[in-house]
């Protein structure tokens, strides 16, 4: 892909995108994982990444808060990712500030083996916030934000690991909200949850959409259809199609997308 292709975006585009990806190439060692991705993600929308396993969608998501820095052999081969107009792979970027700005929820819910309260307060405590009243307020606010407050308000000091899987995942979302990010990345947040817990998380995503920009990776096409405003289909490290969710599921332009969505492969 030699030519600088124009970003695939949807048409009715008024406000500037919060995340801009231009000609992005990414590799693990010698094997290239992402090829020349161009994409604009808009503010306060839910963008879903779908595609078969190993197509690079999780890798791509982890580029947005530079979690791939943890992998030694991972490197950017070209292109850039701009968040709010700033290239996040610039040399003068403080990764810590970036990650405060871009929160993340992982595939496997990973609450710390501490109390529910301490889990939420963690993000603030590491920033040096010690005041009990501030922490109390934030914990309540975040738990309410994650629709968890009524379920756990009486056992804030119990271990987070005593919660159900769905509650743990919503706790992780609440924990991510505590540092007040603008963007929330979700890496298959429901893959380990039962349908009821999944429905709750999806409901939560709908709620969060009002205040946050959400990028969600999912294996579940129905989920993408349910929660997202736009959907991007990845295949073998390439962005095949990026459209309004309704369009991509109703009449996909690309035959590969159609094949995947109709379940013929992947």
């Amino acid at each position: 892909m030699a030519q600088t292709s124009t970003p695939i975006t949807t048409s009715e585009n008024s406000q500037p995108p919060i995340i801009e990806i231009r000609n992005f190439d990414f590799a693990y060692g010698d094997s290239q994982a992402l090829f020349d991705i161009n994409m604009d993600i808009k503010e306060k929308e839910v963008t879903a990444f779908i595609g078969p396993s190993g197509c690079g969608k999780s890798t791509f998501l982890r580029c947005f808060n530079r979690m791939n820095d943890l992998i030694d052999i991972a490197r950017i081969k070209g292109g850039e990712i701009k968040i709010s107009g700033v290239n996040i792979y610039d040399k003068d970027i403080d990764v810590i500030e970036l990650r405060k700005h871009v929160g993340m929820v992982f595939q496997k819910s990973n609450p710390f083996p501490k109390s529910i309260y301490d889990n939420i307060a963690y993000g603030l405590r590491i920033q040096g916030v010690k005041k009990k009243s501030t922490l109390d307020d934030v914990v309540e606010e975040c738990l309410r934000g994650a629709a968890l407050w009524d379920e756990v308000k009486d056992r804030l000091n119990e271990s987070a690991l005593g919660m159900s899987g769905g509650q743990q995942q919503r706790l992780c979302i609440a924990r991510a909200l505590a540092v007040r990010p603008k963007i929330l990345l979700m890496d298959e947040p429901c893959s380990a949850l039962d349908p009821i817990a999944t429905a709750k998380v999806e409901e939560l995503i709908h709620e969060l959409k009002k205040d946050y920009t959400i990028v969600i990776v999912t294996h579940n096409m129905q989920q993408a259809a349910r929660v997202s405003d736009r959907t991007a289909f990845f295949y073998l490290g390439k962005l095949i199609e990026f459209e309004n969710t309704d369009d991509i599921f109703m009449n996909p332009k690309n035959p590969q997308t159609e094949a995947y969505i109709s379940g013929r492969f992947g």
């Binding site: 710390f112 083996p113 993000g123 924990r175």
Partner: protein, 401 residues
């Protein structure tokens, strides 16, 4: 259960396989029992013999003098008559035995006569020996010096035995100080090193090599560490035979175990905790401090137990670097300036056991001291280990995932 009953498909059949199976099981079982019996015998033996020195039949039941006093020469006065008679009986027994041995195989009646003679003599010896134990006077060095005049030489036979009187107080204190100091140094260095190796270093051939050499270090004989410590700390750094030289020598000995075990326990922490923390905007060190080290603490404490077990029992490394066979003063006595505390030699239990076992003649008085010291020593090591096990269990309960 009639024999005529037709065998069903799942009936037990005799086969070589089954016989072999039961034989191997028996073999494993016997080996395990042998180990348990040997270990039990060792502990029982030390506890039984050692408790003679440590416990008393009268209140307060614990021989406080033994646990607190310094080792001293034991002065023993035994009633002269009994002493002399015992010596003559012993000579008679010996001569009878010699005569019996000299007899040919034909003279059976004579041999039997000698045997009964020896038996009566031995009985007599034992009763006299009891009397001797009742009648004897024993003084440790300090008591001996305090006597207005020693018991008369005409009534009593006098002997003295080095290290057999007094107690092992300074050795207990010295051992505790050596173990505490060296484990503190080893844990600090070891955990820092393990954090670097498991969290910061780049995996690759160099790291493999470093790991391998650390592992190999734990196989180095302790005497080599002793020589290293002697050359490095005692001579080159000029610290002399001192507690601080012993600390560092022992710490280096415990390091491999501590580094390996700590690193393993840190690498066993799920990646999710690190990622979760980093994704919330924690720096790498914050993540390690709040979300790796606390969870790895049980493993680190296990490593410290192994470290303590290795460090506390070693004689060779402290022989050249820290231990004195005998020191009159306790570590906090007679210091001209505070730093002197670190630069003084101390007594240590393993070395003390070595000295009383190998450097002085063996007799009933020294045996008491040896077993007593060994018993107390086992107890102290057990105490250190137990306290870190308790700590570990507590922390493990707190952070469970």
């Amino acid at each position: 259960m009639s024999a005529q009953k037709a065998p069903h498909p799942f009936s037990k059949r005799k086969s070589r396989q089954a016989a072999f199976e039961s034989f191997t099981t028996l073999f494993f079982r016997l080996a395990t029992y042998a180990v348990i019996i040997a270990a039990g015998y060792i502990f029982f033996n030390i506890a039984y013999n050692g408790s003679k020195a440590v416990f008393m039949t009268k209140a307060p039941f614990i021989n406080i003098a033994f646990l607190t006093q310094k080792p001293q020469t034991l002065h023993v006065y035994e009633p002269k008559e009994i002493y002399d008679e015992l010596a003559s009986i012993k000579a008679e027994i010996l001569s009878s035995k010699a005569k019996k041995a000299a007899l040919g195989s034909g003279a059976k009646t004579e041999a039997a006569a000698y045997s009964s003679q020896i038996e009566t003599l031995e009985e007599r010896y034992e009763t006299l020996d009891e009397e001797r134990k009742e009648g004897r006077l024993m003084y440790s060095d300090s008591e001996y010096r305090a006597l207005p005049e020693p018991p008369s030489e005409e009534l009593y036979a006098y002997n003295n035995y080095a290290y057999s009187g007094g107690g092992i107080g300074p050795a207990i204190i010295g051992t505790c100080l050596l173990v505490a100091g060296s484990i503190a140094i080893a844990l600090t260095l070891g955990v820092l090193c393990a954090v670097y190796l498991s969290e910061y270093s780049r995996p690759g051939r160099v790291l493999q090599l470093i790991r391998l050499s650390i592992l190999n270090l734990s196989g180095v004989p302790s005497i080599v560490f002793g020589l290293f410590g002697f050359g490095m700390f005692v001579l080159f750094f000029g610290w002399g035979v001192s507690m601080i030289a012993g600390w560092f020598t022992l710490a280096i000995m415990a390091l491999p175990v501590i580094i390996t075990a700590s690193e393993e326990s840190m690498r066993a922490i799920p990646k999710g905790f690190r990622e979760g923390s980093l994704a919330l905007g924690a720096s790498k060190w914050t993540t390690i401090r709040t979300n790796v080290l606390p969870y790895a603490l049980p493993g680190i404490l296990t490593s410290s137990i192994m470290g303590i077990a290795r460090v506390a029992g070693e004689t060779a490394p402290i022989m050249f670097t820290a231990a004195f066979a005998l020191r009159d003063q306790l570590p906090w006595e007679g210091l001209t300036k505070p730093t002197d505390f670190f630069f003084q030699g101390v007594m240590a239990l393993p070395y003390h056991i070595y000295v009383v076992s190998a450097k002085i003649p063996q007799n009933e008085y020294t045996r008491n001291m040896q077993y007593g010291a060994a018993f107390v020593f086992l107890f102290i090591v057990g105490f250190f280990a137990l306290s870190s096990i308790i700590l570990r269990v507590k922390i493990r309960k707190k952070y469970k995932w």
